[in-house]
Amino acid sequence: MEEIIKTLLAIDIWQIGKIFVLIGLGVYLFFAFLIIRQVRLMTEIVEGILTHPLRVVSWLFFLFSIFVFIFTLLVL
């Protein structure tokens, strides 16, 4: 029993917090990738209105979310 309590007390709560934040950012990364696919699909349905700017913005979101994921990995 004492061992279990000692183990529980030894757990760094901030490390658990870091794991949850990284899981959340991982989900976000998947979502950002989904947005790239979706923007491509949308701009294929209607071509010629802001096609390239929207594709660029979707890629910027994806790249920025990768940057935030790595930043979180290093900072936390």
């Binding site: 976000y28 947005i35 923007v39 209607v46 929207l54 979101f61 979180t72």
Partner: protein, 225 residues
Amino acid sequence: MPELYSSKPATATTADSKLSENSKEERGTRIRDFLPPKKGHSLSSFMVLPSKSVRFETQEPEEEILMILRAHWITSLPWVFISVVLFFAPAVLRYFPLLSSFPARFQIIFVVVWYLVLGMFIFERFLMWFFNLSIITDERIIDIDFLDLIRKKVADADIDKIQDVSFNNADAFGAIFNYGNVLVQTAAEIVEFVFERVPNPAKVADVLQRLRTEEKVEEIEGRVR
């Protein structure tokens, strides 16, 4: 013959201008004086005769886009307002130290993630507004609905299948800013089309009615593509 069936503008009277209009019609740019003047840009909710570079997926080579409609910009105001509030939220929260029990590095990450999620929220809302389009061509109407980021619904009906066109003001703001729903009953597979909260619904309904009449005249004259 009423003026709407005429392929010439009211001012054109000379033989030369008739020739020039005929040649325009041969090239597929029929003059329709019932259409509003050419206007609109990429972010406009009411585009009339957009440039030839604008095309949609199932467009036929000879098909001409007459109007592209999307919800009036004022209907985007709620999410724009929410975005502005959320943008300033971290600055306001500094005075309410909810995150003060967290280490500084976590506080920084929370703010970064906050703006990341907010940015995506704004972009997603913008996309949903931007790509929920109603297109009127010289041959048919097309309704493109993105239900969410995964599911889309594209429906079209030939102009000659239109049975009834009506419109209403969507809400009180619709009456003030002149936007509303245009309801199109058709004999096609999709029975009803709704162009939701589009600007100037009366004009859109009028254009559809006149296109339907034009199509019937073409059918009688045997000029149906």
